[in-house]
């Protein structure tokens, strides 16, 4: 209930603010001719301005009460002015509200001045500017202002709502004048003067609408990002679709008004009457649709944006995916045919216009080609989907989760999937459809994390895969999924060797948390944009010589403080062993979190020459990894496989120098699998 009231109050505040902007702009345009000051319609609209500002102020007050209730999580706080004051005094949105309220009060003063002072053009301009500022300040507490507050982040949104206000907010005034100017008994002079004003507004509205659409695309692109599925399955998506649909209808009406009915007003009486009737009818519809559009925009602004929304329940049994389908010849052929037909549809539009086809053919032929193109191409990109397909894992892709997933996999999955998830467990051959190879085949890349979660939860009908919902908690199932991603990434990373492939970051290692022998703690991510990390997984006492070597070379390795070295024991150590290892150790040794780091990073043991696919696999006694400043695993040295490698510290330093020379090539790795 509180959500409905909140939406209505927000709508009230937004709509009154928009009408104040658009109405004042309209009156400013009209006021360029001083004769209109005496017109009853002009006086009527001017009288409305103070009332609109009162509505805005009441809306802002309601907004404060509702926001207080939502933020505190206590519905009663909506009625406690003390709680409002707290919010206003202690938060940024409170500060923004304070500015909006102050500007709205100023606006009230200006509106009163406009109402009672001698008529002039400039007060309407001032009124429009203050109203625009009141609205623009609100964007400092919008989705667009989340994160780093900057002109770049807020400007498109500000332009979008202010320009939309100029157009949509001006429509009621436009309609008022339209009814006055085009009635039968209207004097000739009033008619002509009114039509001139309407034409001016209409001429201005066209580029304003283009700008509204352009800025709207930018804002929507930022809020949706690549979460296109959310457009068809979330509140944000449906509000946005509704807004776009309403806008499309409005644009058609506006175009008809601008190019068909408006020109008729300047022709003979009969045609002018037709134009007047058409305008009155359809601009009324436009105003109603614009009100609905503002409501949709209000709801949109207060809904979690698509890119942050979790689609808990995908409602369709399919989804479209290029990643999962591209590569098959039939898919590529059908996609090619589809694109060709789309190009033909574009050509048909151009030809239809140049050859002056009948309207029905100008629409039917391109539309038919587009439908045909989509009917051919889209099904080939469709893959099976489940309610959980787009669910985002709440469990980060980190060492703790992967280690737990490995334990669960070993305890529950090995008989069928095999010890390394190759689909070669002892029971695998007893199934008519054997388990797939999750290690070497790119299943984790072709299916979403949600798909795997669905299969883990409900099983796979017709195969031996049972449902695990009653045996593993939801968190445990996500852990198993993270483990499957980790083994797959480990296999893909077998191309990595002791030498950095310049400018080719592609392996995303899991994050991990650690505490060290000297009391420090942190995560791998803490080094991002700061230092290259040399991660040393060692066994004791087997790695003693190598640790001594690193100890000697540390000063050179760490160079100008741009490299961090972190040693992680692979076996359990006694206090005495730890004391021996850390004696005079210049770099930290992980004491907390070591087990999880070892278990998850040992999945990166596979190399081209030694993919280690047999049996349970063998974890080397010593491994070292270089992780670049942007979070990518770039080089790996396994003495047992790669030979001398980094024992020559010059070779290691060359790799570090290469990484330090590189700029950011790819976006930072995500914390979760997808």
């Amino acid at each position: 209930m509180i959500e409905v009231i909140a939406a209505l109050i927000r709508w009230l505040a937004l709509a009154s603010n928009m009408i104040l902007i658009g109405g004042c702009v309209f009156l400013a345009i009209a006021g360029r001719e001083k004769t209109v000051f005496d017109s009853p319609w002009f006086a009527r609209l001017t009288r409305l301005l103070p009332w609109l500002t009162v509505t805005l102020l009441l809306g802002l007050l309601g907004l404060l009460a509702i926001t207080t209730a939502q933020i505190t999580g206590i519905a009663e706080s909506a009625w406690h002015p003390g709680a409002w004051l707290d919010l206003v005094q202690k938060t940024r949105i409170g500060l923004v509200w304070k500015w909006r309220a102050a500007l709205a009060l100023l606006l009230f003063g200006v509106a009163l001045y406009v109402r009672f002072s001698p008529k002039a053009h400039w007060p309407y301009v001032v009124c429009a500017i203050i109203a625009a500022l009141t609205l623009a300040v609100g964007s400092l507490a919008s989705h667009s202002a989340a994160g780093d507050l900057s002109v770049i982040s807020v400007l498109p949104y500000v332009l979008h709502i202010v320009l939309a206000s100029v157009w949509a907010g001006g429509l009621p005034a436009f309609l008022t004048l339209l009814f006055v100017a085009t009635e039968k008994q209207t004097p000739k002079e009033t008619y002509q003067s009114g039509v001139q004003i309407l034409k001016r507004f209409s001429a201005m509205a066209l580029p304003v609408m283009v700008a509204v659409v352009a800025t709207g695309i930018i804002v929507a692109d930022r809020m949706v990002d690549t979460s296109y599925a959310a457009l068809a399955a979330t509140s944000y998506g449906w509000f946005l679709n509704t807004k776009v649909l309403l806008l499309a209808v409005i644009l058609i009406i506006a175009a008809r008004a601008r190019f068909s009915w408006m020109p008729l007003l300047s022709q003979n009486d009969d045609r002018a009457a037709v134009g007047g009737r058409g305008l009155r009818r359809w601009v009324t519809v436009e105003v109603v649709l614009a009100s609905a559009l503002v409501l949709a925009a209000t709801l949109l602004a207060n809904t979690v944006p698509a890119k942050h929304t979790v689609i808990e329940d995908w409602p369709y049994p399919f989804r479209f995916s290029i990643d999962a389908t591209w590569g098959e010849l039939s898919v590529m052929i059908r996609a090619g045919v589809g694109v060709t037909l789309l190009v033909l549809a574009g050509g048909a539009v151009a030809i239809g216009r140049s050859k002056r086809w009948e309207t029905k053919w100008r629409i039917a032929i391109p539309a038919g080609l587009v439908i045909f193109a989509l009917a051919i191409a889209l099904p080939s990109f469709a893959v099976q989907a489940f309610p959980e397909t787009y669910r985002k894992t709440p469990v980060p892709f980190d060492a703790i989760s992967i280690a737990n997933g490995a334990t669960l996999f070993a305890a529950n999955c090995v008989p069928c999937h095999g010890p390394q998830a190759k689909g070669n467990g002892v029971l695998a051959k007893t199934f008519s459809i054997p388990p797939v190879d999750l290690l070497t085949e790119p299943h984790t890349a072709k299916h979403t994390a949600g798909d795997f979660f669905h299969w883990l939860t409900y099983g796979i009908p017709g195969t031996g895969m049972p449902a695990w919902a009653n045996k593993l908690s939801e968190e445990d199932r996500w852990d198993v999924l993270n483990f499957l991603h980790a083994i797959s990434r480990g296999y893909q990373a077998r191309l990595i060797n002791p030498y950095v492939a310049p400018n080719q970051p592609y392996v995303v290692p899991q994050n991990f948390s650690y505490s060290t022998h000297n009391g420090a703690s942190g995560t791998l991510k803490d080094f991002r944009r700061e230092k290259v990390v040399l991660l040393v997984l060692f066994s004791w006492p087997e790695s003693r010589a190598r640790l001594d070597q690193l100890r000697s070379a540390y000063t050179t390795l760490s160079g100008s403080d741009d490299t961090a070295v972190l040693a992680v024991p692979m076996n359990d150590l006694t206090q005495q062993e730890i004391a021996t290892i850390i004696a005079d150790m210049p770099f930290p040794v992980a004491t907390q979190g070591a087990s999880e780091i070892m278990r998850s990073y040992s999945l990166f043991r596979r190399t081209l020459s030694n993919p280690d696919l047999a049996g349970e696999g063998t974890t080397p006694k010593h491994m070292e990894f270089l992780i670049d400043r942007y979070g990518f695993l770039r080089a790996r040295w396994i003495p047992a496989v790669d030979g001398a490698g980094w024992t020559d510290s010059t070779v290691l330093i060359q790799q570090i120098e290469q990484l330090n020379r590189e700029a950011e090539i790819r976006p930072a790795p995500d914390d979760h699998v997808h």
Partner: protein
Amino acid sequence: MELWVVRALKLVVVGVVMAMAMCMHVTPVLAHAALVKTEPPRRAVLAKAPSQVQLWFNEEIESAYASLVVLDTGKNPVTEVKPQLALDNQKSIVLPLPELTPGKYSVKFRVLSLDGHVIQSSFDFTVKGTLQGK
């Protein structure tokens, strides 16, 4: 079309083109506040009991509306102390803890980001030993 209308149109078009050009060439950071790191780590099994819980977010939060409680296995808060902003970081809150006995603990938090959105979630950690770490 009148001259002033043409001028206004030019201004609008130039303004929008400039705005678009600025926006298209910069990838701004646009995100809601999200938890990026915790100390102790989520689901960690600790040999030493932590002396505090610290949460880091990806954007600044309103400290006056931050709530952070640590519950023991009986769902009782282990301390009545309120969380504070970290001294050196406006994106982080800290809750000092009394000495914790071995067991599983739940951390529940509810914070308000600067853009007015509430973020709430929880995670667990387990203490194996009693000696307080840093």
